[in-house]
Symmetry: C2
């Protein structure tokens, strides 16, 4: 069995988690010939967390469910990617403990840039008060203190960011050229 | 990647789902050198379905969450086992559709025998009215119409039952001696 691991992307809405994680997944599939399972935040909310809202407690429950599923996949040798905002440090720590082979990727992009991109129009709605408890606006984002990888999507291209993640996976022994 | 599949055990409380599924898991691990992930009903309720009760709707939601996780594991090549009562036929059909490589095991044991065993003391509590909507007592169990395997735990030993399951997996091409 191959060595399973979870790449845990964390960062503000619009920081580039999805873009970079999809590029990383493509590289792992094509260059290392491995299956990759992306636990998309929206898909997980539909399938595991219907009925949960965005209170601190509900967000924590949602993240712990993602972590539980990621832990099952990881211990069965799957290259797993999660890309939820996961704003709270202590819940990310619990995810790290549950999963073990955990690689935290901090998608570090200033709020102003994320808000300017506003791909889904969510920041405008949050500023207008239509969405409550929106991370970065009226709910906190706690940056990782010791992430395995930090990427700055406002300074580096998606390819560069993805390359950094791949290099870290090689360095940590999760990917080898013989796979 | 090896061929993933889900062994979906269904049957009354006390029918022998856990006993037989654990024996099957042991055989797959030892004789076929494969990882096996058992999605235990209680562990799943704790990690994915906290807050859900035992109404028809909540039971269905719980089973669909198990099916979602089993589908992720299965498509990543994992030998997956679920052993929840899963009393309703239409939800098991949806699980079959979601998972694809689905092997339904009907653990067929008469209610009287299950109730006599009453390992967890649940039937006594259900008869006393302390547990409501208990499958087989005041909530229906709908037997599978075309399960891949039927086992009768009141007539066959656990080893015989497990052997039938393994033989079916070989017949269906999910296990091969060269694995």
């Amino acid at each position: 069995m191959q060595k399973g691991f979870t790449l845990w992307f964390t960062g503000l809405s619009g920081a580039g988690k999805t873009t970079v994680s999809q590029m990383v997944a493509k590289m792992i599939r094509e260059k290392y010939n491995r299956n990759v399972e992306i636990l998309d935040g929206d898909v997980v909310r539909t399938n595991l967390s219907k009925g949960l809202g965005f209170s601190k407690e509900d967000r924590d429950t949602n993240i712990l469910r993602i972590a539980f599923v990621a832990s099952l996949l990881t211990r069965n040798g799957v290259a797993t990617i999660t890309a939820a905002i996961s704003p709270y440090r202590n819940i990310r720590s619990r995810a790290r403990e549950m999963i073990g082979n955990f690689v935290e990727i901090y998608v570090d992009c200033p709020l102003e840039v994320c808000e300017k991109r506003d791909v889904k129009g969510l920041y405008a709605r949050a500023r207008a008060g239509e969405i409550k408890a929106f991370t970065g606006i009226d709910d906190p984002y706690e940056p990782p203190e010791n992430p395995e990888v930090s990427i700055k999507t406002h300074e580096e291209s998606p390819e560069e960011c993805a390359g950094k993640v791949i290099n870290k996976l090689i360095e940590m022994g999760y990917l080898t050229d013989n796979n």
